[in-house]
Every structure is written in structure tokens, then in C-alpha cells.
Assembly symmetry: C2
Homo-oligomer: 736 residues x 2
């Protein structure tokens, strides 16, 4: 793992460029930042529309083919099973192939990876074009195949990729590059766009502009600013707007100008003809403790899920390692086979029941005419459709479901319990396989089933007292969904809003908040959230919020953890020494000092005088392009050193060459051979390229102070001074 350096570069050349920058260039930079955010939203809207279309198509084919076989002959079960499972496995095979043979980083939800990146840890290949294609292509197939997976996580990752990619104004993989404003040259800008892309990804996947923005705030961003938040919101709104419009165009191309937005459900995971946000959900004040209990249940279930999934992941790491492509690919197909078979068998073995209302809306499948399949409606539907049935969205009025008058999609208790148990198991098993799979929709669906079960129980209890009070099962389904997702991920504000926006349940926002609060509190007692757990399993050095790090930081001092074995370079260094330092160590940055390293014969003390700091990446680039090489022995050598560039254009070209995207240059092993013996004897002037003023901290300061500084400023290195520095002045608020 390497770290990103989100502290802006600040060397002499950069500073010269900055001082000469005109007002117009600042304005251009600002404009591009906003345009880019709109563009990210736009692209994500298009992608969401395309992927949704593909998923729908795949589902139509798979369920359509199986249903038509069933309808041809209701007694022969093998044929339909074969068609259904074969199609599912075929799709799963494609999804798995994207991961195993195109890009392994496309596996799973991608949220832990993006979270790690935004925190400042580099993962190789995370933001490559190939990854985005594998991820967003793969997700359509893995959802189409019926794997217990959602599109949200992959869309988060995809959004990050789009953000990072668009802002790079070019692609490494495609090997092209366009002219771009001179300012997007550093990691921090790129990180901002990745964060914005992430927001847009969540937003288009859920149709939730606020939730998307808050997701990034909550999960990713230790570097928030208002203008970032606002740009993220612009991107999420643009994305959702574009999906709306495309959906509408698709649906109602004839008279687009008369299409009324707002009277049907534009938001959320589904669109309905008529939006019934306001009628469908209600609750009583005495239900609040029950919601809290559902939250606790969700927290426990979430912790159980995490702990079991950790065990499975450990097992998987030893038996199905990422390197073993074939076995990994096979696992995906196998899980899909099991999932599809289970769903089919339960559908085929489902009891058949009669009910005046439900018979109109439930599918018949293997049942006689006039009966409905009790399990088939849930098990023989795409996951997100089952979720919708569980929430009872789209029902209102006389068929609207409360517990007295079950609505058109009121399931029997046995179907609910079966669905809950089986889907929970499959979800736990599936998370982490070698296909793009998100966790949100599975977790929400499982939770909605749980909520319904609780709601029925509450209704039975109320009815047993002789009361005729009506209980709203919709509300319980939504609350259960939120509890489940909150228990698994431990996100808070963003889940509240995602669930609110997805279901349209603005009235439920406070019950949702309370539920999720309990889910998180209880869950945190027994495990970390699933994403943090997976980050831990990977071993990435993730920096949590200072508030969550516990007492240790309060009690340690900086000099108890710092590294004192610094390898320093001279301001005018021999190329040989630079190459040597790069080869001998894997340090990410080198202090620049005239002094010899501490503890050597030339410097018996413990300190060196810090002139500046230079990163490994920059040194590698300087070696590659032979920047600032000179021969001090030759007359005019020093002149050549000073003449790095003559015009502003040459300077900008130089800066572009050396720009702070550290991980795309070849390693020192690749560069060293290209340097001749003669080159090795030359000198390099590092003074104009070093960061002159890296952040510093006292050796005996509390570690929590260093931690706050490190995390807030997005640093990669923090130099440590002895405890009593010399000072020349003080800056107060008024000076600024």
C-alpha cells in the first residue's frame, strides 16, 4: 500500500507558475471545476440508464423464458428449471469472467476500495478505464443472473472511476490525452472529483440526490468544504435528472413536452404511475420503542452477517485465492446455480392458496387456475422487484395493505420467514465473490422481510387485546429495511436519507433515524461495519475519525511512534546517490538536508536541518526525464542547471511532466538501467523541486495532535522537530 499526498505541491517551480497566474486562469479553473461536476452527473445518468436497461432486458429474457415453459405444461418441472438455471448461470459466467479475466478489482461492491482511496491509500489500478468497464459491464450481468447482489456498490465505484477519469482529461489505458486546464495537476483535485463521482453513482443507483451527497460526506470525505458539497449535490441532481428524462423519453416519447414530472414517482429504485408518498406510511407514537427494537434486531443481524462473512472470506482467501482465476470463476457460477435452483425449487414446491384479492395480482405459476403461488411471487422475481412487493409500493386506496385488510402484495407468514432466512444466508455467502456485487439491495430486501414479520407480530398482539387498531405494514417493511442496512454497514445519516428517498417515505424520517441509531449502536458492540471489516482484512492503513480512535492516541507521544531512520538527500545530489536511495529503500519521500543522516560519522547528533522534502514519485519522474541534471565540473554546468526553462510555456510543460500523479511512473528498477555511467556521475539540483515547507510537529506532542493534522490535511509525511523550535513571529486571525 502506498499513500496519496493530498497536500498541494508547493515547490519553487510550482510557486513561480502560481505567482504568474492571472485572474482569468483562476476563473477558468473555477469554471472547469463546476462544469466537470455537471459532466460527471451527466455521464453517470447515461450509464445508469444503460445498465438499468440491460438488467431489465436480462430479467425479461430469463423469467420470460422460464414462465413460458411453465405455462406450456404445468406438470413438467425439469424443463423450466433447466431453462431458468442455464440462463442464470450463463449470465453469471459472463459477470465472473469480467472479474477473473478482465480486472480483479471489479469484484465485490467497491465501496471499501473507494473509501480507502478517499482516505488517502493508493490501490493500484483502482481508477483505470478497464476497471470501470469490467465493473459496470459486469454488474448488469451479475444482477441479471439472479445473484443476491445490488447495483449500488458497483455504481459507487463506477462513479468514482468516472469522476477520476473525466478529470484526468485523458486515459492511460487508451493512451490519449487532451489539452486541459493547467490546474488539475494534483492528487487533491483528483480526489475531489472521485468523491463527486461517488456521490453521483449512489444518487443515480438509488434515484436519491440528497442521499448520494451525504453518502460521500459520511463514508468518504474527511476533507469536506461547502463548495465541494455543493458541487457534489449539483452532480447528483444532474445525474438523477438525466435518468428521469431518459426514462420518460423511453416511456412516453410521443409527447415529451406534456410529460408531467412529479405526479408519478420519479425518485427511488422504482418508478410508479402515481406517487403515493403521503398516503401510504403512518405510525403511532407507541410504535417508536418497537422501531427501536427492530433497530436492535437489525444491528444484531448485521453483526452476525459481518462475523460470518469474515469467516467465509478467510476461507475463501485460502481456497479460492484471487490468483486462481478458474476456481474463482467457477465459484461465481456455482453460487448462481445454487441460488437459481433454490429459488426455482421453492417456487415449484410452493403451496397454492386462494384469496380474492391476491389471486388477481400474484402469479399462478405451478398452481391451478384461481389459486396463487404463495412462495413464487417472492422467490420467482428479480430481487429488486421482491423488495418492492415487500414494501407494498404502488398500493393505495382500497387495496392498500394494512394488517386488517392485506393489500395486493400481502405475503403469508411462512413465505416471509422462508424468504428472510434463505436470502440472508445467500447474501452472507455471496458477498465477496469474484463478481461485481453490491450489498445495499440484498440487505434492504432481507430487512424488509424482517420488518414485515415484526409488523405482523405486532398486529397479532394488538388484535389479541381485542383492539381494532390498524397497523401499517408498509412502515414496518421500510423500518426493517433501514435497520438491516444500518446494521450491516453502520452508515447513519446517509442511510436514513437513502431509504427515505428510495421509498418516498418523508414522513418516516424520524422513525428511520431512531431505528438506525439503535441498529448502529447495537451492531457496533459486536463487530465493525462490513466495509470497515473488509478494509481491515485487506490490511489497508485506514485513518478513522479522531473521535473513533479511542484513548490510545491521547496517551502516546509522537516520538514513541515516529521513524528516526531517515534517509536524507543533499540539495545538490549526485544522480548516483539519488538512484541509490531509491533502490535501497522504499520510502515514499526523502528529507532534503545538507547534513549527513543522524548517527553517521559526519553527524553524531540526532537531528538534521530540514531544507525540504521530495517524494519518490517526483524523483522517479525527474530521473526519467533527466530534469535538472548538470555536471558541476564543467564550465557552465551551473548555468545549465538554472536554465530549466525559458518561457512560461516551457515551464508549464515541465510541470505537466512532473505532475503529482505518483503511481503511473515505472519503478526505479526500470529507470536505473537507462542511466549511463556518465549520467550517474552528474548532479541533480533538487532545491527547486522540493516541497520547502512540509507540515511539522513536535516530537513530544500528543499523538492525537499529529493524527488530527495528518488526517485533516491529507498528508503522506509529517516531519518531527525536537521539542523547542526557534520562532520568529506569530500569526493571528487578524493577520489572515
Amino acid at each position: 500500500f502506498e499513500s496519496h499526498d493530498y497536500d498541494p505541491i508547493d515547490n519553487d517551480v510550482e510557486e513561480e507558475a502560481r505567482r504568474s497566474r492571472k485572474r482569468g486562469e483562476y476563473a477558468e479553473y473555477e469554471t472547469w471545476k463546476w462544469l466537470m461536476s455537471v459532466l460527471i452527473g451527466l455521464v453517470m445518468g447515461l450509464i445508469a440508464f444503460t445498465v438499468d436497461g440491460l438488467i431489465e432486458k436480462f430479467n425479461d429474457i430469463k423469467f420470460g423464458a422460464a414462465t413460458s415453459v411453465i405455462e406450456r405444461d404445468r406438470s413438467a418441472r425439469f424443463g423450466a428449471w433447466f431453462v431458468f438455471v442455464a440462463l442464470a448461470c450463463l449470465l453469471a459466467a459472463v459477470a465472473g469472467a469480467f472479474v477473473s479475466y478482465v480486472e480483479p478489482l471489479a469484484a465485490g461492491s467497491g465501496i471499501p476500495e473507494v473509501k480507502t482511496y478517499l482516505n488517502g491509500v493508493h490501490l493500484k489500478g483502482l481508477l483505470k478505464l478497464r476497471t470501470i468497464i469490467a465493473k459496470l459491464g459486469g454488474i448488469a450481468f451479475s444482477i441479471g443472473s439472479g445473484l443476491i447482489a445490488g447495483k449500488e456498490g458497483p455504481f459507487v465505484h463506477g462513479g468514482g472511476l468516472v469522476g477520476g477519469g473525466l478529470s484526468a482529461f485523458g486515459s492511460h489505458t487508451l493512451g490519449f490525452k487532451t489539452h486541459k486546464p493547467a490546474c488539475f495537476r494534483n492528487d487533491a483535485d483528483k480526489r475531489d472529483f472521485v468523491a463527486i463521482g461517488t456521490s453521483a453513482g449512489v444518487a443515480v443507483a438509488f434515484g436519491a440526490p440528497i442521499g448520494g451527497m451525504l453518502f460521500t460526506l459520511e463514508e468518504g470525505a474527511s476533507f469536506l468544504s461547502n463548495s465541494m458539497m455543493w458541487r457534489a449535490f449539483l452532480a447528483t441532481c444532474t445525474g438523477v435528472l438525466v435518468t428521469h428524462w431518459l426514462n420518460q423519453l423511453d416511456f412516453d416519447a410521443g409527447d415529451f413536452a406534456r410529460a408531467k414530472f412529479g405526479t408519478h414517482r420519479d425518485f427511488g429504485l422504482y418508478t410508479d404511475d402515481e406517487a403515493n408518498y403521503s398516503r401510504i406510511f403512518w405510525w403511532y407514537f407507541w410504535e417508536v420503542p418497537i422501531f427501536a427494537a427492530v433497530g436492535c434486531l437489525g444491528g444484531l443481524a448485521g453483526a452476525f452477517f459481518v462475523n460470518v462473512n469474515v469467516k467465509i472470506t478467510m476461507w475463501r482467501q485460502s481456497w479460492i485465492p484471487v490468483k486462481n482465476r478458474a476456481r474463482r470463476h467457477l465459484e461465481v457460477v456455482f453460487i448462481c446455480f445454487v441460488t437459481a435452483t433454490l429459488c426455482f425449487v421453492l417456487t415449484a414446491a410452493s403451496p397454492c392458496r386462494r384469496d380474492a384479492i391476491r389471486t388477481q395480482f400474484f402469479r399462478q405459476l405451478y398452481c391451478d387456475d384461481g389459486e396463487y403461488s404463495a412462495y413464487g411471487q417472492l422467490f420467482f422475481s428479480p430481487l429488486s422487484q421482491s423488495f418492492k412487493y415487500l414494501l407494498h409500493l404502488g398500493e393505495v386506496g382500497e387495496f392498500g395493505g394494512d394488517a386488517q385488510n392485506p393489500g395486493q402484495h400481502a405475503f403469508d407468514m411462512d413465505a416471509l420467514i422462508l424468504y428472510w432466512l434463505i436470502m440472508f444466508t445467500l447474501m452472507t455467502w455471496t458477498y465477496g465473490i469474484g463478481a461485481p456485487t453490491g450489498l445495499f439491495v440484498p440487505s434492504l430486501t432481507v430487512g424488509a422481510a424482517m420488518g414485515q414479520i415484526v409488523g405482523r407480530t405486532v398486529h397479532a398482539a394488538v388484535a389479541s387485546t381485542g383492539s381494532t387498531l390498524t397497523i401499517d405494514l408498509h412502515t414496518y417493511a421500510v423500518i426493517g429495511a433501514a435497520a438491516s442496512l444500518g446494521g450491516a454497514t453502520r452508515m447513519t445519516v446517509s442511510i436514513t436519507l437513502l431509504v427515505m428517498e428510495t421509498t418516498g417515505a418523508m414522513q418516516l424520517i424520524i422513525p428511520l433515524m431512531i431505528t438506525i441509531f439503535f441498529a448502529k449502536t447495537v451492531g457496533d458492540k459486536y463487530s465493525y461495519g462490513i466495509y470497515d471489516t473488509h478494509i481491515k482484512i485487506r490490511g489497508a492503513p485506514f485513518l478513522n475519525e479522531p473521535e473513533l480512535t479511542g484513548p490510545g492516541l491521547d496517551k502516546l507521544r509522537v516520538n514513541e511512534v515516529m521513524a528516526a531512520n531517515m534517509v536524507s538527500l543533499k540539495p545538490i545530489a549526485k544522480v548516483r546517490d539519488v538512484v541509490d536511495a531509491l533502490t535501497r529503500t522504499s520510502h515514499g519521500a526523502f528529507p532534503i538536508s545538507e547534513d549527513d543522516p543522524p548517527g553517521t560519522p559526519g553527524n553524531p547528533g540526532e537531528t538534521i536541518e530540514l531544507h525540504g522534502s521530495i517524494t519518490r514519485g517526483l524523483l522517479l519522474k525527474m530521473l526519467t526525464h533527466r530534469v535538472s541534471f548538470f555536471n558541476p565540473a564543467i564550465e557552465g554546468g551551473r548555468d545549465r542547471r538554472d536554465a530549466l526553462y525559458e518561457t512560461a510555456t516551457e515551464r508549464d510543460e515541465l510541470l505537466e511532466k512532473l505532475k503529482q500523479i505518483p503511481f503511473k511512473s515505472p519503478g526505479i528498477e526500470a529507470i536505473a538501467p537507462s542511466l549511463s555511467r556518465g549520467d550517474m556521475e552528474l548532479s541533480m539540483d533538487l532545491t527547486r523541486f522540493m516541497q520547502r515547507h512540509p507540515f511539522i510537529v513536535h516530537a513530544d506532542a500528543r499523538l492525537s495532535r499529529a493524527y488530527r493534522l495528518f488526517r485533516t490535511m491529507g498528508l503522506r509525511h509529517l516531519y518531527v522537530t525536537p521539542s523547542k523550535p526557534q520562532i520568529v513571529g506569530v500569526v493571528t486571525r487578524k493577520d489572515l
Copy 2:
């Protein structure tokens, strides 16, 4: 102006206490932080319910009395005018008295003050109990009086007061103090609670839990963390929930257990019997550019409002200064007189019209039977009621207003234009007077009128092409309201959400975003936002986001702005020298150094060795309590110095005495006389009380680097080192 120091205290005594702190105490601290947030929400909910009740009562009395006079005799106008204006002026006089004679800081909206506080600038008396009483008591009277004012700003301030006050576990004014967890001892904790209180204040005023949370994020917090955000959300939800429940108890005490929350409008500025969120708002894709244009209009109107209000404020500062209580009081009554008279005259002079639907819902007032008063419905209603009429909330179905079939509260164009112009003028005049007055509701109302006017115009244009397309005037009213508020305040995400939650227009979130984006962009061209403008007028040294500070910071260096004339103290200082330094300068902090100040005979150089830093507040407290005084000449003097305390309890008491709430101790003028000549000759040991590791920055670093550090860490002082410090090591991510 003094600055707050949000950097946690970090001296030896504090550190000793911290090292001995047990896991249980950390847990207690954590628990209190959450409990306190719930408590803040609870209290704000109660306050909102009480203030709302008062306002309603006042409005009932005022309009009730006037209406009954009108109904007794429709021809005599003077009597009703007298009753109406006299009652209004009486209420205004009480509101003005709260400000002029109780606490001047209760004037206005309070948002600029709270914003300044959260940014780190101390305003004397901002968070006193007297202020909260004057503010929240006053707001009920000023709204009741009919001044063009809203309750939101004062609730923001009130929330901050409640947050700050509750977390202090006692009151300076009441002179009591309770036992409290040992950890809420510093400015940063207090600031967090003030921020949470602010959120709760917005939330209960608007019934908007998300908007409340985001308001603080956007306006106040440069110090966000997830756990803060989540605690703020907990507080807003608790607050809104409590208001719901109290309202419900009040309304439906008979069968509270059966009261269904969610089927009526629980949210927003108003409650309705039936929530019609989903049916009432719609829009067409081609209206998006029109919404953008409304946004531009709102931005222009907002900039005009700000610029004119600045002129008025300037004039007010010279003619009606805060010191001149009587004149200030009189102004409030006078403005109220003008406002009430204008409203009454327009009502009395209103044209009377006939319309089958409207006659049922509009008031008759001075019109003949069967007719309705065209202006009276708008002008002769409380402001927030007119706002509701303009939005057409509560209408649906056959009376639902679109432009073809105007609903029950469809106003005539002349009434709308008159209302818009007059209310805009009154709002501009009123903002800044000596009574508690918020800006949100006036600005929203004016904007809603503007939106309606635009909507009518669009409808006329569409109809003139022969089209029968229906236009939704509700949508235009909401969009106009958002444009107006956005143009005046330049808030973005939080206004989008406040308006969405207030109106229930979840479907309009994207059009709202677009409108507000344009309002802000256009407005920013011509003025700052109203709050920032008032902060500037006060001259407070407010630190904006780094991204908004312009190129200057990029081009300056730290040593170009820093103060080099430091006054330093010795680690073991004479009491006389300390008193002398405090008297001679008004510096907020003093570096501790063995060296003489730079440039003096004892130290010809430019630097001093920094041992630590001590704040003025702490020195004053040490002098007051004679902490760490000793006589070095006497045998055992040094021992006495070391024996500051013997047990942990004594240590905690000492820390409590010295705690970092800097502005409540008397000044040096008050303390100095209490020190005898003998005292003056004693020494003080500052080493155990100084902050040993203040943040430092390089003299030749870019100013933007210092700025980021300063703002993000909430510093008060930043010491400047020469450019090449000694270092002993480096900290990287892995070390943390």
C-alpha cells in the same frame, strides 16, 4: 473581537489528568455527548411548541379583535384600524423592549452572530441566559405584532444558546453550577454543542430535520466530523418529534394512542389534515430554463435587497445607534405602525370581486355579501399564513390550483404584484431593527409571490399559443420562494432541503437545486449574502473557506503578514512581569521562552526558542487563584511549587478552576489591585500550564498553507519558525 481557541488544551497538568483517565470515564464522556444532544433536541422542541402557541394566541387576539369590529359595522373603518394598529404596536413595543432594555444582542436574526461564533470569534454576551430569554420571548411578540419577520433566525440563535447553556451544566447569570463530567472543559466541546443546538433550532422552526442539520454544516461548521453530524441529526429529529407529539397532544388529546402520524402533514411550517405531498407539485422538462430564470431573478432581487439594506444599516448606525435605547425602541414601534397601517389600508381599500370558488374561501371583510376582498386575504393575514396561501398548500383535487382552474386561494395578478412590492420594501426596511426578527419567512413569502407572478405569465404565454397545457402554480410559488431566499442568503444545499421539507415538495428537489444554483451565482456577482454582509459590517475577522478566499493567499507568504513583535514570558516568571505583560499589551497569548524578546540587548537575533505558549485567559485565572505562586528565595519555595496538588481530586479541582472558557474572568485591571506588593515579587511557574506544542508553520510558507491549518484546526495563534527547522524523524500513515 477576541478569538476562540478550539485547539484542545495540552499542558502538563491536563496531560497528567488524561493519562490517568480510565476507560469508564471515556465512556461516560461519550455517553454524555449523546445524551446532551437528545436533551438539546428535547428542550428546543418544547420551546418551539411554546413560542408557536404564543404567536398563535397573539394573532388570534389581534386579527380576532379587528375582524369583530369590522363585522359589527362594515362602513366605519377608523375603529377597526385603531384596534388593529394599537394591538400591533403594543406587541411591537414589548418586542422592542426586550432588545432595548434587556439585551441588545437579541436584535435581528442572530444568524450572523452565531456564524461568527462558530467560526471562532468571540462576541461578548452572545451565549448568556439573558440573551436567550430576550430572544425567544421577543420573537413571539415581534411576529405577533405583524412585523415582517420570521422566527427562524432567532431560533437558530436560541438553539445555539440552549446548546451552549446546557453543556455548561450551569449558568453564569443564575449563578449556579452542577456537577458535570470532567471533560466538557474546553471551547471545542462547547462549540460542538452550540452547533448542535443551532441545527435543532432550525429544525424545530421549520419542522425540517435534514435541513436543520445541513444548515449548520453549511453555515457554521468548518469542523465537521461524522459523529458531530450524527449527533446533530439526532438532536434535530428529537426536536421535531417532540413538537409533533406536543401538537398532537394539544389537538387530539382524547385518543393519542390512535393518532396516526404520517397521514397528515407533520412536517414543515404548517400542519394540514391531509398530506398531499405527492399530488400537488408537477413540472415539465421545458420549464427547467424558466426555473433557472426565476433563480436569476431571485439572485438579482437578493442582491438588491442586500445592497439597499446595507445603506439602511449604515444610516441606522449613525441615527439610531444601539446605545440610544429610546430611539431604537421607538423605531420598532414606528415600523410596526407603518406596516400595520399599510396592511390595513390596503385591506380596507381593496377592490371586491365575485367568484364562485373563491368567495367560499376568501374573507369578506369590507366587501358586500357574496363578494370577496381581493387584497384582504393576503394583507390581512399573519405573514406565515399568507405564505401558505401563496403556496396553495392544503389544496388538492377539484379545488387544486393550476392556471386553468384556479384553486381556492388563487390570487389576482394585481394583489400579487402589490403584495410582492410592498412586502419586499418592508422586509428590506425591517431587517436590522432593534427587535428579534428572522429573514427566512419574509423572504420566502416575497419569493412565493414573485413565483406566482412568473407562473401566471408563463401560463398566459402558453395559452396565447392556443395550447391547453396546464401549468402548476404551486410549483412556481415554491421555486420563487427558494430563489428569493437563496438570493438573499446564498445558502445552497440547506435551503434546497429546508424548502423541500417545509413544503413537502420532494418531487421538486432537482428544480429547486437548479433554481438556487442560479440565484446564488447571479447574486454573488452583485453582493455578498446578507449574513456575510452583516458580519463584514460588524468588522468581525471571519475566516471563509480557503476555496472562497481568492488568489491573494496563494501569492503571499507567511512572513509578509505575521507579527514579529512578540512579548514573551520566562518559564519561571515574576508575577510582576506577568502582570506587566498583561497590562501593557492586549495579546491573547504569550510565547514562553528563556530568551529575551528578539531585537533587545539580551537577544540581538530575530528568533526565540519556543518552550510553549500560554493564553491570556489562563494567566488571568492563575493570577486570580494565585496558582503556582512561590518564592524562590525561601527555602522550600520550589517544593511548594511542585506541590500544586496531591490527589487526583485536587488536580481535577484545579483544572476546573482554570478551564478554558476564557471570557468570563475579569480583566487585568480588576485583578492587579488585589495583588499585594509582596505578591508581585513572587515567581510563577508557567511550565506546567503552558501549551507545550502549539502548531507551527514556516516563515516562508505560502499563506494559504497557514490559512488552511488555522481554519481547519480552529486555532487562535500559529507560531512561525524560520525556514529550516531541525528534525528528528518522520511520521507516516503506517505509524499511526
